[in-house]
């Protein structure tokens, strides 16, 4: 861990019905988890027991949870870490709407009707010139405006994080221009640019090759005792971690999707260098209470 105050975040996977252990595990969860009021109570309970913020994929579900929380917590500014786009939903929409062009039309229509004039202007420019950077900026403005309209003017949007599917594609295809444009654009809005990846060693190698300024960025990536989703291997990811004291790294999948017990999982993550924080999803009040108390106690000693 770094010497700074640890960033402990509650994640949203259970609210979307996601379990990386198995889909069956997700189906067997309590049915209340998809209830917005129940989910917002879980986030609040996590915050009361040591979590410092909420990391979520921007979707109708999470925006409803934020609205509900706003009603219940008028006193404080919640730290938000937003992941965009909600890729799995777009993949499903591609199936229903006839591929990538079908999704593009749908998003374009939503952006035009969003009444966010910055997004509209950029999307018109982007579409007319087919300029990828302008289209990306228009899309980011649109997503940020959705968060602001859910939470209100006092939004404390700490980081906007590029979803792993886009991050991995951009890494594979050497889109250094996209990373640079993304970092510049998000930074200009006073927000920390972030990246979600399950190819951490590859990510670090590329960023070093491109000579990117990594002091500005946040990375959320799996770190767990059994090396689950740490590609290409646990050892390579740990080696890469040693090389990146300038990144802000939030460890995810620390429990390996419920495969590990919290105590052993936390012990491993705490032993790693250069980790700034942890994100953890919870599906029951008991989990929220116990897990975040344990995390807070571990990282503050």
């Amino acid at each position: 861990m770094t010497n700074k105050k640890p960033i402990l975040l509650v994640g949203d996977n259970p609210f979307h019905g996601i379990s990386h252990l198995s889909q069956e595990h997700s189906r067997n969860r309590n049915t209340e988890i998809k209830n917005v009021e129940y989910a917002s109570d879980l986030v609040i309970k996590s915050l009361e027991n040591g979590a410092g913020g909420f990391m979520f994929t921007v979707s109708d579900t999470t925006l409803s949870i934020l609205k509900e929380m706003k009603k219940k917590r008028r006193d404080s500014q919640l730290e938000l870490y937003a992941i965009v786009p909600y890729a799995s939903e777009y993949v499903r929409l591609a199936t229903q709407l006839g591929g990538i062009m079908g999704i593009a039309k749908k998003i374009g229509k939503e952006m035009i009707t969003s009444l966010n004039f910055g997004a509209i202007a950029r999307s018109i420019k982007g579409i007319s010139l087919l300029d990828v950077e302008d289209l990306m900026k228009a899309y980011l403005l649109y997503e940020m405006s959705k968060i602001k309209s859910a939470v209100g003017k006092q939004t404390n949007l700490v980081s906007v994080i590029l979803h792993e599917i886009i991050t991995e594609m951009a890494l594979a295809l050497d889109w250094d221009w996209l990373f640079k444009a993304y970092i510049d654009f998000v930074s200009k809005h006073g927000i920390k640019p972030g990246f979600e990846t399950r190819n951490f060693a590859f990510f670090v190698k590329k960023f070093k090759t491109w000579d990117m300024d990594c002091r500005k960025i946040l990375v959320t990536t799996p770190f767990n005792k059994i090396g689950f989703q740490m590609n290409p291997s646990k050892l390579e990811c740990e080696k890469a971690l040693n090389m990146v004291s300038d990144f802000e790294i939030i460890a995810m999948s620390v429990l390996a999707a419920g495969y590990l017990k919290p105590a052993e999982a936390i012990k491993y993550v705490k032993s790693l260098p250069n980790i700034s924080g942890v994100v953890l999803g919870v599906s029951r009040e008991k989990h929220a209470r116990e897990s975040f108390k344990l995390l807070r106690a571990a990282f503050e000693t």
Binding site: Q23, E24, R92, I100, L173, N231, Y259
Partner: protein, 340 residues
Amino acid sequence: MKFGELMKILKDVPLKVGIIGLGKMGLLHASILSALGNVRVLGLCEKSRVMRRLSKKFFKGAEVVDDISELSGLGIDAVYVTTPIPSHFSIVTRIFSERIARNWFVEKTLASNYVEAKQLCEMAKCSHGIAMVGYMKRFAVTFRKAKDLIDSQVLGDLVSFDAYAYSSDFAEIKETPKISGARGGVLGDLGSHIVDLAFWFFGSLTLDSAKIGSRGAAGSEDKAIFCVSQADLKGNFSVSWCETQYRMPEFGFIIRGTNGILSVNDDVLEIKLKKGQSERLFRHDLNDNVDFLLGAPEYYREDHHFVRSIIDDTMVESDFISASKVDDLLGQIKNRAEYF
């Protein structure tokens, strides 16, 4: 120069790949192939003008064209066909007749019907290259483990199995849209994977009965139930893309043998033997890491396997012949099914 040295040099030369169809599967394969050190994506073919213009920015150094013929002359070693199923036959026929490349990867299903699939098998034979179909479930660690256990006869003589393929893709839509036909209906889209796995596990199977369910006026195929057999082995399949709570498509089997029972799906494998031993293995337990993860680890393994088969000139998993058998069974189901 010794033959071995020549082979080493040839293996160090990047494999040049072309991709036809830049939908989500085309982009996925292009990305994974680009992450493999010994591959260069050199040519892209896409009908949509917008996608072509965007691709010129996305794929630096690659030719982006709108007609397959324009890929010839690029010296391409292998072609990926990731267009809708109804176009596979005509596209592969052109790749073959215009000698664009010797090695072919076609996203499943191989063709729209068995007649076309058989013709493509003949072309593959004449082409003397590697011809593979994207049945990526064979590269999932849980199904590979199941295959090992079945082959090693841990279950004894196989008696029966139940197989399913479910997704929620159209669960919340009242009427399945017409575009679902381009995916081959539920049988082509989901059923093909589970049938391919069944052939891989058990060998050839004979169709005994079939039912297909449709929800829409457009005559869409939304659900299918069919029964197969092979000597004393009986199997039941259930396929649907209208199930609730299947956020991601899920494929699974329960297999019964004289020694015990094995259940397996994309995430977990469980075996219970009559002598009392039992084991439950998640992906976590089966070394699921890959050099580059995008979508799911099986996509990487599938592409890596195809590329290695070309470079090493070795047999490929899920070749055209085995894929044509899937098309054959799916055709029989459609011809013989009662509709409900």
